[in-house]
């Protein structure tokens, strides 16, 4: 487990910004401590236990190297290469987010990040980025990163968060989308311990789409707070989990969302597809808030889980908090096993059982991959899914549990 105070002492001299303010923020965070299961938003993710348990190892099988992209590579917190392109301006890292309120157990991980953030990409996009912007995070050391991504009015970008670090990582994204801006954020975590938070605000006509694929890692906590501030803003959050591994080496993937519709005529669409084998655990908590004047909001939320073993667990908790009366909001949740009839159908067409199972799992996750518009990137995600399925699911569960 990370000892935040001694980690701070170790890296203190290398940290930019106001050291006193950081020390004070850290002291306030330490006074609260890591969130326990008594905190509702952390009820299904016992952070202290997960950080203690298991080596944060994982197999990295697929990367984005083949894609022509702009890249910012953070290795153990150090930035290699600075992406340069027309329409992109990158500023040196500073740690100046106003963070005045005292942390609560709900927000304490952000406070740790603010106290300890050693680096991050600060980028402003104006216009359309011709290539995806890849943030690659690698290394074995504990790391705190704070990224600030801002899209000017009408700007368009595809951002890839390729998380391959095997150590503890606390990563915050602050994202602002100006009027009519469009951002796709593609995230992949194949290993490691990550506690992630994205704070996203959308102005009028802005569109945000996040597609996440967790294919490994003993802790993958992805919290997102999305605020739709003005009319016609639209947010989509799609997540796929391919969880595997036994006991302490098992994947733990937690998506916790708060999607807040502050304005009328905004919409959101959330889907979560979890395939869980071995002792993997999937968590989905999705809260949709519709503010009193936010009429004609359309908010959809779907969770589905395919359980491949009896030792796997899925916790799904969708919530609607609606204060307007003219809205269309729906949530649904389905947890099941591999469809035996579908398996028989495929076998009756000549596919052996293992191939049929792999095809059904891939098909299930394809319902997330299909949201990636960029063909090169979606192809990489498909490769990732296929490779993981072949190497992991092929071995772990031989039988379909009844």
């Amino acid at each position: 487990m990370l000892d935040a105070q001694s980690h701070f002492e170790q890296i203190r001299d290398t940290l930019p910004g106001d050291g006193q303010a950081r020390a004070a923020t850290l002291a306030a965070a330490e006074a609260v401590g890591l969130p326990t299961r008594r905190v509702e938003s952390w009820h299904y993710t016992d952070l202290a236990r997960l950080l203690k348990s298991g080596e944060a190892t994982g197999v990295r099988t697929v990367d984005f190297a083949g894609v022509k992209a702009l890249e910012a590579h953070f290795e153990n917190g150090l930035l290699h290469g600075e992406p340069q392109a027309e329409g992109l301006s990158v500023a040196p890292f500073s740690n100046t987010i106003a963070h005045t309120e005292a942390p609560s157990p709900d927000t304490v991980m952000a406070s740790y990040n603010h106290a300890l953030a050693q680096n991050g990409l600060t980028a402003e996009v104006s216009g359309t980025l011709a290539q995806p912007l890849v943030i690659r995070t690698s290394g074995t050391q504990p790391v705190h990163l704070a990224h600030k991504i801002s899209l000017a009015a009408g700007a368009k970008a595809v951002l890839v968060d390729d998380h391959m670090a095997t150590g503890y990582a606390n990563v915050v994204f602050d994202i602002h989308l100006g009027e009519g801006a469009e951002l796709t954020l593609l995230r992949s975590q194949q290993a490691g311990h990550q506690v992630g938070l994205s704070r996203v605000t959308l102005e009028q006509d802005a569109r945000y789409k996040s597609v996440a694929m967790i294919s490994g890692g003993t802790l993958a906590r992805h919290e997102a707070h999305v605020t739709l501030k003005a009319a016609q803003a639209h947010a989509e959050l799609h997540s796929a989990v391919l969880g595997h591994g036994l006991s302490k080496a098992a994947t733990h993937a937690d998506f916790t969302y708060v999607i807040e519709h502050q304005a009328a005529d905004t919409s959101s669409n959330t889907s979560a597809y979890n395939v869980l084998d071995g002792n993997a655990r999937g968590v989905f908590q999705g809260k949709i808030i519709v503010r009193p004047d936010a009429q004609r909001v359309d908010a959809q939320m779907q969770t589905r889980a395919m359980m491949l073993s009896e030792g796997a667990e899925m916790d799904a908790k969708p919530e609607l908090e609606i204060y307007a009366d003219d809205v269309v909001c729906a949530h649904g949740s389905a947890i099941g096993e591999l469809d035996r009839d579908a398996l028989f159908f495929l076998r009756s067409r000549g596919l052996d059982e293992a191939t049929a199972r792999q095809l059904l799992v891939a098909a299930f996750l394809e319902q997330v991959t299909t949201h990636i518009d960029d063909e090169g990137l979606s192809e990489i995600m498909r490769q990732l899914v296929d490779t993981k399925i072949n190497t992991l699911l092929g071995n772990l569960s031989g039988e379909v549990s009844s």
């Binding site: 035996r340 009839d341 028989f344 159908f345 009756s348 000549g350 052996d352 299930f364």
Partner: protein
Amino acid sequence: MSSLLDIKDLHAGIPDKPIINGLSLSINPGEVHAIMGPNGSGKSTLSYVLSGKEGYEVNGGEMVFDGQELAQMSPEARAIAGLFLAFQYPLEIPGVTNMTFLKTSLNAIRRGRGEDEMDAASFLRLAREKSRALGMDDDMLRRQLNVGFSGGEKKRNEILQMAILEPKLAILDETDSGLDIDALKTVAEGVNALRSPEHGMLVITHYQRLLDFIKPDVVHVMAKGQIVKSGGPELALELEKSGYAEYVGGAETASEGSPAHA
């Protein structure tokens, strides 16, 4: 000539519930047999037992297909041997395109037979040719497997799979259910296209109508898990008039429960 399918005194069902009770049936290459019978007579069970669906068990008798006893074979081994079941209720599988599925299936069967896989371009030509012959537009190959297909499109898609896999024996389980008359004709044309001196078919249906378009060589009446009467195409017409009443009284009173094919 040896039979394509030879079922002798078959006893089968689900655990603790016998459904097929001493059924015998023999199909020669080139023949189309129809099985008709009331609900609950075991027609669909027979199709599942023949194709190897999990949960069904064989408790006695033989089912020899092309010289091989089926009972111990996996569903995929039966498909590789040349058996095909057109499903009564085709499944929807989101996330797999029809094209990918068809190609995976054909190549699995070719591999299983020790043949080379078909390359992508040849497969595309084959799939287009066969789907057009069934009046399906190319878009249906690109769509996800049966997702959003109408009942008729799903049945057509089953026949497309059959046309591409060219099985030695096709079992059509109520392929006519849910089809309007135009779709029925198209599907029947697809089935008839596969008729040849080498191929056999077992057509399971409630209604005589399908048999106007797929002319059977032999018609069997099934009741209580047995074949209770066999005859020519005229038997189907007779059933259409008189119904199944005389057969549901009791299989044991029917004439001998004779082997199907003379």
